[in-house]
Symmetry: C2
Subunit: 175 residues, 2 copies
């Protein structure tokens, strides 16, 4: 799974510009995949050179011209091949957890700050997901709903453990 596959998936529904693809990544897809312009534009160029998508230049008034990309039959086949390939295992990369792992080389205050920061980040994500749900839900498939529910449930679980852990650390060895 890589940006090529995901972009091909997005173009399945309708032709899009690089800029629109970037916006699609904002919400709610961004919770489990993201890409910047520095990835999107080179990837579109590559997909075009491979014959998976076709570029159409569209002139606009009062706006910069845009390149709209549409998926080809070869592109659909490529995407299907991805869906049929063996599933890759999930990876969770967390600077926070690595810091926790080595926290005994730092002072207690820093540890507490890290946990507070992580709680704030998890709360923000949790709220963004919950607040967005009413907007997205009507147009989401059942499987997409599952995606969102997994995100929400994981955030909840993480927050619960983090809050308990923080309370315990704050209680202990305090004057």
């Amino acid at each position: 799974m890589n940006s090529q596959d995901v972009i091909l998936g997005l173009l399945h529904r309708r032709p899009l510009t690089g800029y629109e693809i970037k916006n699609t990544f904002e919400r709610p897809l961004s919770f489990f995949f993201d890409a910047g312009f520095g990835t999107i534009y080179p990837t579109l160029a590559k997909l075009e050179s491979l014959g998976y998508i076709l570029k159409e230049s569209v002139e606009q008034d009062n706006r910069p011209n845009k390149n709209v990309y549409a998926i080809t039959e070869a592109g659909r086949a490529r995407f299907k091949a991805y869906l049929e390939s063996p599933m890759e295992k999930d990876t969770y990369r967390s600077d926070f957890l690595i810091r926790l792992f080595f926290a005994h080389y730092q002072d207690r205050e820093t540890l507490i700050e890290w946990i507070r920061e992580e709680i704030a980040a998890a709360e923000a994500e949790y709220r963004a997901l919950q607040d967005g749900m009413p907007d997205w839900e009507p147009q989401m498939t059942r499987a997409q709903l599952l995606c969102a529910q997994i995100g929400i449930a994981s955030s909840e679980a993480k927050l619960r453990v983090l809050r308990e852990g923080l309370a315990e650390i704050e209680r202990s060895s305090e004057p």
Copy 2:
């Protein structure tokens, strides 16, 4: 946060060979960070060239010679600088969630198979964490315990949602 930082963190406790570092990544650290030999050896070479670690060749009987790497003062300073740098936000990369997002381009049987696979993977991880805990717990710091608890709680939450979702999908549109 990258392999350099993590390896420097591991060498804080005692000098290690590349092979030992790889083993350390197995359990329990591997749940939130992993690296293969193709990353470890070049990283060790780089860290040495930067003066953060020192190599000592040790001859062994009946075994290949090994290179034991010890952290230097500059290495400790480097690691401290990492711990004091701004915390990076977590990234969760999931082929499974991407597939769920595009599941409507596949048939129902495949969707069910994906979910079953993901449940099996999450169960395996959950069990590995739970089974390992009694062994690791005595030598773990409180912060490391928190790491493990977050992993366990997230797996639980994910499993719960996945099982409910699977049941619902199996119920619906079934003969």
